[in-house]
Point group: C2
Chain length 220, copies 2
Amino acid sequence: MPHLFTAARARPDPVKRIADPTVRRLSLYLRFLEEFEGAGRTTISSGELAQSGHTTPAQVRKDLSSFGSFGKRGLGYGTHDLVAHIRQILGLDRTWRLVVVGAGRMGSAIAQFPGFRDRGFHVVGIFDLDPRRIGQTLAGVTIADVCHLEADVQRLRADIAVLALPPAAAQSIATRLAQAGVHALLDFSTAPLTVPAGVTVRRMDLAMELEVLSFALTNR
Amino acid sequence: MPHLFTAARARPDPVKRIADPTVRRLSLYLRFLEEFEGAGRTTISSGELAQSGHTTPAQVRKDLSSFGSFGKRGLGYGTHDLVAHIRQILGLDRTWRLVVVGAGRMGSAIAQFPGFRDRGFHVVGIFDLDPRRIGQTLAGVTIADVCHLEADVQRLRADIAVLALPPAAAQSIATRLAQAGVHALLDFSTAPLTVPAGVTVRRMDLAMELEVLSFALTNR
DNA sequence: ACGAGTTTGTGAAATCCTTCACAATCTAGG
DNA sequence: CCTAGATTGTGAAGGATTTCACAAACTCGT
């Protein structure tokens, strides 16, 4: 039962169910559009966007048309307009407060990832278990003890948590975060998490991707 | 019913096209199976596997049946057998030689990722541009100058390359790697790569995943 | 050895996603 | 204003993946 959501309620949004691949592509389009905008282009066609994103013009138009009609026939899309629209669709017209749980090598790298802040994702908390790490500062944030996770996460008003932990610890932390009101998790550990309804999890599974590559190389 | 799958090695085999999601799930199943095997279980049913992997029993059986019939009706699958079969299907019955290009924070974390070696992925080379990093040692490998990338990659007989680079550099490195005979890339940069036919690329796009989470939170 | 109870393997149906094809609408240029 | 050329928006078709449903085949207890 891979059902993640049920229905919209907070926003008066009659937009039908949006496919995950569509959202991913929007994120891509946005990046190209910002590049195009930076280069001074004022309009762009679905064909040009498609080329940048390794897809087809029809796909681009379909993706956008699920949310409204932003283009001008005969002309294309206004870069500036479309950037604004996609940012709004993706919820990027605000900032999001991030916590990173696990300050090992991977957690540290993530917390200091350049371009987070620029794109509106602010790391407001970092947690670890190891007393030697607690108290150190990363990217301007002091590493806190994971034992106060719930209280801290609420105090910090965190929206999203990034988990960079050993698989054994991930599930328990995920449950605690969900309990504390964090509704979005980005999981770098290798075990899929079980979370309450209403919490979205995305996995970044290094080992799995390598195994997919192994398969591709083997059956080339 | 009579599915013979022994010919997958020598020749371009007649096994029908395998969907990407199927391969991903196989990788997942494998992990659970190894856990079950470690716990001493000798058989497992599609239902149990499905629960572990957040999918359905029918899905599990369909996935496996694309490659042969490994189970016993009324009993389930032999854990040990199935582990062996999936490892063979995914090409994990051998080791793969990895290079990491980019030894910044992310590249270093990846190169030292625990569990690579255990799963048969050996980091045999690390490259960077920065003279201050070249010559340092990470995970037992000395960081080399990226300017000899092609020759080194061939000397090291690298199968897979992990790219942990600024987006501006990624495309040129990808092209050089493809030229040098690396047919599988795992890309952590934010721009999708264009590569020659026969080269497989998988993307790990942190920013994109965060934006998908932003969308999910916004349209909850 | 038998019947009750499981569980697989797999066509067929359903669902999800992408591509096609074309009318509608715009710009540009005279 | 009118025509040629370009591009969007979208219903319908097509393809891909997941789910359903059930016969076949096995185990186990008696």
